[in-house]
């Protein structure tokens, strides 16, 4: 089975500005890829090219093997924009009904109830958008992105307006989506969120990919901390592989070991290092 989303050497120019410079990435079915980068790195532009809102200057993006923006590609994707709005006069149920009609898969009321229940808006189906909080509107936006049978989800900052409980709900939802074989490209500034849910991350800076891989692969060792006899000893050059040897040596010298912590860089540190290195 081919990738759910594939970008090949995508460039986007706005006049003299290069918003994207040869970006290539893939999202496999059932894979959740986090797209990271500072403001202006080109994340939203890439997502917009993938859903056909913006045309690439060079290169191409495919959704399930079809050119981005084609009817077949649009039928296969669900999209939540970073800055979106639904008409204030519509109720949550009407928003989903409209999108069901546009997708062309009928207006299944049971499916709408299921989606609203999934995002925690089961009690708000008759509430107008203008009466909803920002967080509720964002939940509705996620439900809207799931209308139809998307095989790719493009989520641009889906949790920016949510409280911690809301973010946890979205994490659970994303796990469910992944289990159903849907590929997800998640654009977020919330690095801990990305670290918690994403299989892989791609870091963009100044329109180019500066790092990509599993969060654990991107992390660098930062030594080992071992708690012995009420104090913590740090071995800054040690790695996970060195832990058994160090513990054996400590025990051999008569010290009691109470805890071991292998330290690595966090995703945030990796992100800052790569983004700042590119900016210099």
């Amino acid at each position: 089975m081919g990738p759910a989303l594939a970008a090949y050497d995508v460039e986007k120019r706005y006049g003299e500005t290069n918003a994207l410079r040869g970006v290539s990435l893939e999202v496999a079915p059932g894979e959740l890829v986090g797209l990271l980068g500072p403001n202006g790195a080109g994340k939203s532009t890439l997502v917009k090219i993938a859903c056909g809102l913006v045309r690439a200057s060079v290169g191409r993006v495919e959704i399930c093997g079809r050119p981005a923006g084609s009817p077949e590609a649009r039928e296969a994707l669900g999209y939540l924009a970073e800055l979106f709005r639904f008409p204030g006069w519509q109720t949550a149920d009407e928003v989903l009904t409209l999108h069901q009609r546009l997708v062309g898969h009928g207006t299944d009321a049971a499916r709408r109830h299921e989606l609203l229940d999934l995002v925690g808006l089961a009690d708000a189906r008759g509430r107008r958008v203008e009466e909803m909080s920002k967080g509720m509107q964002q939940r509705l936006g996620i439900a809207q992105a799931l209308v139809g049978t998307p095989r790719v989800l493009l989520l641009d900052e889906p949790t920016s307006a949510l409280d911690p409980a809301g973010r946890r709900d979205v994490r659970i939802l994303l796990d469910d989506v992944r289990e159903r074989g849907i590929g997800v490209l998640l654009n977020s500034h919330l690095l801990t969120e990305v670290e918690l849910v994403c299989d892989r991350v791609v870091i963009l800076s100044r329109g180019a990919v500066v790092a990509a891989g599993r969060p654990a692969e991107l992390a660098r060792p930062r030594g080992v901390e071992i708690e012995v006899d009420g104090t913590t000893r740090t071995f800054p050059d040690a790695t996970r592989a060195d832990v058994p040897r160090i513990v054996r040596e400590l025990v051999a010298t008569g010290q009691d070991v109470f805890g071991v912590r292998v330290r690595t860089t966090t995703l945030e540190e990796v992100y800052l290092e790569r983004a700042e290195a590119t900016a210099e």
Binding site: C51, R55, R74, L77, Y79, F84, W89, L98, R101, L102
Partner: protein, 284 residues
């Protein structure tokens, strides 16, 4: 329901829920009430100052002039309705984040534009025809006068407003909501002014002014449709009454030649193609 019908229905539902139709209906009823009062008084005064033998001619002059005035008002009201239903359809809604969730759906951009156009065109056509019929009925009841042609002027007036809707949609692809509204109403005013200049040119036998009017008819054919509709109100009327009517700004119009009327259809098609092509290339 097809994508085009869904978009049209969505636009109409929005107008309904935002009470656009309620406001329009109330203000139009106020306009028609005022028009009725004006018609009754105008006929009463005109008949009082004219000898009985000339009553028929006076009725024609007063009736045609007042329905011409009503046509101008209906064109303006229809244009306001049509332009406000469409002026922010693309760029305005994209800037507000309303458009993106809709156009990423399989319905496509051309279908989106067509849906918005058909929704606005349907509303404006019904509105213009109903208000024109109401104004004609008022003239019949309050003044006993009926235009020489009824259906053609009503449809031409509606077509003029539909053309303005199409121009407004085209403008919405390029311009922000405010800029597009200003542009369309300036075009509207320019078209009507050029039409009047053409009439004045004909009265004064000024070739230059006549050329201005004729060229404007091709550049902005809504004006030619309006002028042709005005002409048809008294197309079978001759003599002193016709002369008096054609001296005024609401009855002195020329019949449009078939070329202009056909051009209006082609023009609508060209505007549709231009809007669709521009929207297809526009980054959102």
């Amino acid at each position: 329901m097809s994508g085009v019908a869904t978009i049209s229905a969505h636009a109409l539902q929005e107008a309904l829920r935002r009470r656009v139709f309620t406001v329009v209906a109330v203000l139009t009823l106020a306009f028609l009430g005022l028009f009725w009062l004006g018609v009754a008084k105008a006929f009463e005064e005109a008949r009082r100052v004219q000898p009985a033998s000339e009553l028929l001619e006076v009725d024609v002059a007063v009736g045609a002039t007042l329905l011409g005035l009503a046509m101008f008002a209906i064109l303006f009201l229809g244009a306001v309705l049509g332009v406000f239903l469409t002026l922010g359809a693309v760029r305005g809604e994209a800037e507000g984040g309303l458009l993106q969730p809709l156009v990423v759906r399989p319905v496509g951009r051309s279908a989106f534009l067509l849906g918005r156009f058909l929704g606005a065109a349907a509303v404006c056509t019904v509105y213009v025809v109903v208000v024109f019929a109401s104004a004609a009925a008022i003239l019949r009841v309050a003044g006993g006068w009926w235009p020489d042609e009824f259906a053609a002027p009503a449809l031409e007036l509606a077509a003029a407003v539909v053309l303005l809707c199409a121009l407004s949609l085209l403008g919405s692809v390029f311009l922000s909501t405010i800029a597009n509204g200003i542009a369309i109403f300036m075009l509207f005013g320019a078209g009507l002014t050029a039409g009047l200049l053409g009439q004045i040119g004909e009265a004064l036998s000024s070739q230059t002014l006549e050329d201005v009017g004729r060229r404007t008819s091709y550049a902005l054919p809504f004006e030619a449709l309006y002028q042709d509709g005005l002409h048809r109100l008294t197309s079978d009327t001759f003599g002193a009454a016709a002369f008096v009517v054609r001296l005024g700004p609401f009855g002195g119009a020329d019949a449009a030649d078939t070329g202009v009327l056909l051009w209006a259809v082609v023009y609508l098609g060209l505007v549709a193609v231009a809007a669709s092509a521009a929207f297809a290339r526009r980054d959102l």
